[in-house]
């Protein structure tokens, strides 16, 4: 029985009494003599019970790498906040960062190494685990060994590379569902840098084609900080958001324009047409082919294709010329099509035409430690991995920080592919879908228990390395830090070089000592540098100046055949909170309502009321969303913040594993995506799957919880605020 049915059975009114499973533990009471109060055996130096001390560390809840402060009391980390020393996030963190403590204290952590024994995983010792690794990895060589990770940076990333070198392999698959790989390719071709620094704060106007920079982006806190400056400038910045499904950023826009999915490139060409042909902006630097393409897209044609009214396009183009410098951004919904590269190129070309390059798009300079820079993930590596595995080209793979079994579309047949990988090692904190199919599971320490360095991929003006230090002792003795696991793997291959490091702490100290004097603030005292760094949490490293070029590459016509076809396109929308599904096991984030639909603890399909009416669907119906690859069944929420040709199913739910909080909730739209790829970069075209929607069950307002929409019990049957009978209160508190 899943939660939805359970609540339905219980009914709403009297649910509290029956939910004994949710009762507060009996040890939390005011009654005398029930709770224990344990003293220290020996007082810890600098520890005063009841007084919290803040220590600096780094968040790893997404790949942005914000610097944090954690409040530690009686040896427990209790609260996280942003570290004001870091200009990246400037003392702020997001909801995912706040929820970090919940992952750390989760009751579903993997606590012991486990080894596959037929169909099950059984606990084993680290000695046995390491011996097995020695044996299995020793028998593999070259590219038949691989690492499969999420975006990874800092010294951990360097050690992964070193391990691959030691194994003689070049196979490092880096996979992220939320990525900007296509934009990176465009940026590299047009500006000469994959990740130029975006300056929303310097722009007078931002036109964002589906870039949810304040929501599920690659550095939400950093961009939200820029946005705050953009909005509080003397002349308040103007935000126009163009997308098929309203995002958190779209919700804040001055003008929100719904657009037919996959036609963003066409709209950009239409704007270019207006700018060049009507407003007479210079067309210098635009290749002939592109110039011709622009001329083809006059305003009436563009309005017809995109569904955006001509006068609105004109107004946005006009505003862009009046407000300078401006900034035009492209997000994942522009990238995720077969013509994704062309669409992004068309959008980014507007920056060239408007002269924004060098003003609101700056060079991020040369980072002095290239080996520590983030290896950024995309979906092309997932496809490459699936292919290599299916062709039985991989004998041993180590998985860390990514959950491909969950996030791969069914069309990639990853389950079958995984079966063909000889030996799968999962370095994991939780029993997620990928860890469940591993042959060896290594329990990794949480980021609040571990050492490390993180290099944010979206740097602010002052680029920095963020230092991660343990905020408390490990909760589980048998878990190991990622760096320590990497070191022991390296020692098995190359003991001469790595044997001298007792642990990852020693390795990091050595690495810090070896940093150039300029970075060390010109101190020669390594202890002083180390202590100062831990206190501050941030190492400032100056990125030396670079200069962007401003060119326009030739690109194909960004209109796809399907854009003219009738029917619905699936928008698998990520959101700040559950993100790509990695935070589905954190109740705080499940509890935080979706920013637009207000739904909690569930999946839903989002549609425009007009579309629903045409299909005979009413609000909160049970609907089946089907693609060529399969279908998902879920409740529908009708909202006008959708384009009529789009249906959105949010990412994050539909876990078949991943602990008690995540498992069995909602559906996973990634499963039904087509395996179409972007023609140029080979990235998965995630936003191009065509679907049909039909009602399969009547509306039922009790089966989905939407916060603040005026229905149901505000506590939804959960004991958010516990109550006790008056009699008990009298007994404990006197009268």
């Amino acid at each position: 029985m899943n939660r939805r049915n359970f609540l339905k059975t219980m009914g709403w009114g009297g649910a509290g009494a029956a939910l004994t499973g949710c009762d507060l533990p009996t040890t939390i009471t005011l009654e005398e003599g029930k709770e224990e109060v344990v003293s220290y055996l020996m007082p810890e130096e600098y520890v005063i019970p009841g007084v919290g001390v803040w220590y600096a560390s780094t968040c790893t809840q997404c790949s942005a790498g914000c610097a944090i402060h954690g409040r530690v009391r009686e040896g427990r980390v209790l609260k996280l906040e942003g570290n004001p020393e870091a200009s990246l996030n400037n003392g702020k963190i997001c909801m995912m960062g706040q929820a970090g403590v919940q992952g750390h204290y989760s009751p579903d952590r993997v606590t012991k190494p486990m080894v596959r024994n037929g169909d099950t995983l059984t606990e084993t010792s680290w000695d046995n685990a390491m011996a097995l690794l020695q044996e299995k990895l020793g028998a593999v060589s070259g590219d038949r060994f691989a690492w499969f990770t999420g975006t990874i940076s800092g010294h951990q990333s360097a050690l992964v590379s070193n391990h691959l070198d030691a194994m003689g392999s070049k196979q490092h698959y880096v996979h992220e569902v939320v990525n900007n790989s296509v934009s990176q390719a465009v940026n590299r071709d047009m500006f000469g840098e994959a990740n130029p620094r975006v300056r929303i704060d310097k722009a007078a106007m931002v036109v964002s084609f589906g870039a949810d920079f304040m929501g599920a982006s690659l550095s939400p806190v950093h961009y939200a900080g820029q946005y705050a400056k953009f909005r509080t400038k003397k002349e308040r910045g103007l935000l126009v958001q163009i997308e098929s499904k309203m995002s958190l950023t779209g919700g804040s826009a001055d003008l929100w324009l719904p657009i037919k999915p996959g036609t963003e490139g066409v709209l950009a060409l239409g704007m270019a047409n207006l700018l060049l042909n009507k407003i007479k902006v210079s067309d210098a630097g635009i290749p002939n082919g592109v110039r011709k393409l622009i001329d083809e897209y006059d305003i009436s044609k563009v309005a017809k294709i995109t569904g955006v009214a001509g006068h609105r396009i004109q107004r946005v183009a006009q505003l862009l010329t009046e407000r300078s410098p401006s900034l035009v951004l492209a997000g994942p919904s522009v990238e995720g099509h077969a013509h994704g590269y062309a669409s992004v190129a068309a959008v980014m070309m507007l920056n060239h035409i408007l002269g924004n390059v060098g003003k609101t798009i700056e060079s991020s300079g040369q980072f002095p430690f290239p080996q520590l820079m983030a290896k950024q993930g995309g979906t092309a590596d997932l496809l490459a991995f699936a292919e290599a595995a299916k062709a039985e080209k991989l004998d041993a793979v180590v998985f860390y920080g990514s959950n491909p079994v969950y996030s791969a579309p069914k069309a990639l047949e990853l389950n079958e592919a995984m079966n063909k990988v000889g030996f799968k090692v999962a370095i994991s904190q939780f029993m997620d879908e990928t860890t469940e199919v591993a042959d060896l599971v290594l329990p990794v320490a949480s980021y609040l228990e571990d050492w490390g360095t993180q290099v944010p991929m979206q740097q602010s003006e002052n680029s920095a390395i963020h230092v991660q230090q343990p905020l408390m002792e490990k909760l589980y003795e048998d878990s190991k830090g990622l760096g320590d696991i990497l070191l022991s793997l390296l020692k098995q291959r190359n003991n001469d070089e790595y044997g001298k490091f007792e642990d990852y702490y020693a390795y990091l100290r050595n690495a810090f000592a070896a940093m150039p004097a300029a970075v060390k603030n010109n101190t020669t005292n390594n202890n002083e540098f180390w202590n100062n760094t831990l206190q501050k949490g941030v190492i400032d490293v100056a990125s030396s100046g670079g200069k962007l070029k401003s060119t326009v590459v030739s690109f194909a016509d960004p209109v796809s055949e399907s854009a003219n076809a009738d029917g619905l396109t699936l928008v698998p929308s990520p959101r700040l909170g559950l993100y790509d599904g990695r935070h589905a096991n954190l109740p705080w984030l499940q509890e935080a309502p979706d920013q637009i639909s207000k739904v909690v603890w569930d999946s839903w399909a989002e549609m425009h009321p007009t579309t629903a009416e045409k299909l005979g669907i009413s609000n909160l119906d049970l609907v089946e969303v089907s693609s060529a690859q399969g279908s998902v069944t879920l409740r529908v929420v009708l909202l006008k913040s959708m384009h009529v040709d789009a249906v959105a199913v949010p990412l994050g739910q539909g876990h078949e594993a991943y602990g008690r909080y995540a498992k069995g909730l909602g559906v996973n739209p990634l499963q039904i995506l087509d395996a179409t790829t972007d023609n140029k970069t080979g990235e998965l075209a995630m936003y191009s799957t065509r679907v049909t929607v039909k009602s399969v069950g009547p509306a039922d307002s009790l089966s989905i919880v939407r916060m603040g929409t005026g229905s149901g019990d505000s506590q939804a049957g959960r004991k958010l605020v516990a109550t006790v009978p008056v009699e008990q209160l009298r007994r404990t508190e006197g009268s």
Binding site: T29, E35, V38, S39, L41, I48
Partner: protein, 204 residues
């Protein structure tokens, strides 16, 4: 870090207060041993509670320590003036004396056993407040003892406001209600002295 500076300053003040109170106390003892002269008078909270007897792992005799041997409350509950919690003394503190004192007594034998096993005794909590109440020993001691120039050697009288006369008990027993009425009553009675009446002072 800010938190450290803050507590460091308070420590200085405390120390100053401590010395002043001591000097003042000695003078007071010489001149008028019957009455304690303080900077200002405070009204004690009112109300009683029939607490339950709590079985502790070791029947710790507060009476022997406080009444018979005159040990100051804050000698063991040393965090009271620095933190929101008074703190149960670390086992090492007990052993500081009981390595040599009364080592043949059954209770000390039991304590020594805990010490040798390197586990602190699992004391049972007697005085507790709900998590939504922010009570701090530190501020109460500042206002009721240090700022007031109340002689620190008599601090047990202030502790007794909320904890009862521990000098006459073995293990602690809850004898004051410690409910909202109890707190608010005292705060109203001492309003003139700056006892806050805002909800958020405690519920924050």
């Amino acid at each position: 870090m800010a938190a450290n500076n803050r507590s460091a300053n308070l420590n200085v003040q405390h120390r100053k207060g401590f010395v002043l109170a001591w000097v003042f106390g000695m003078v007071a003892l010489l001149l008028a041993p019957a009455a304690i002269a303080t900077k200002y008078d405070v009204n004690a909270p009112t109300g009683t509670h029939e607490g339950e007897d709590v079985a502790q792992p070791i029947e710790f005799p507060h009476n022997i320590h406080v009444k018979d041997n005159g040990i100051n409350c804050m000698y063991c509950h040393t965090y009271a003036r620095r933190s929101k919690v008074a703190g149960i003394p670390p086992t090492s503190k007990c052993m500081g004396c009981h390595k040599v004192i009364a080592t043949d007594k059954p209770r000390i034998k039991k304590l020594t056993e805990f010490w040798t096993n390197k586990t602190p005794p699992p004391w049972k909590k007697v005085h507790d407040l709900p998590d939504f109440v922010h009570f701090t020993h530190e501020i109460h001691l500042k206002k009721l003892v240090f700022d007031r120039d109340f002689p620190v050697e008599n601090v047990k009288e202030v502790c007794a406001f909320c904890h009862g006369e521990l000098e006459n008990m073995t293990v602690a027993k809850k004898v004051k209600p410690l409910n909202m009425g109890f707190c608010v009553g005292c705060h109203i009675a001492n309003k003139e002295l700056g006892a806050p009446g805002d909800c958020w002072k405690c519920h924050k």
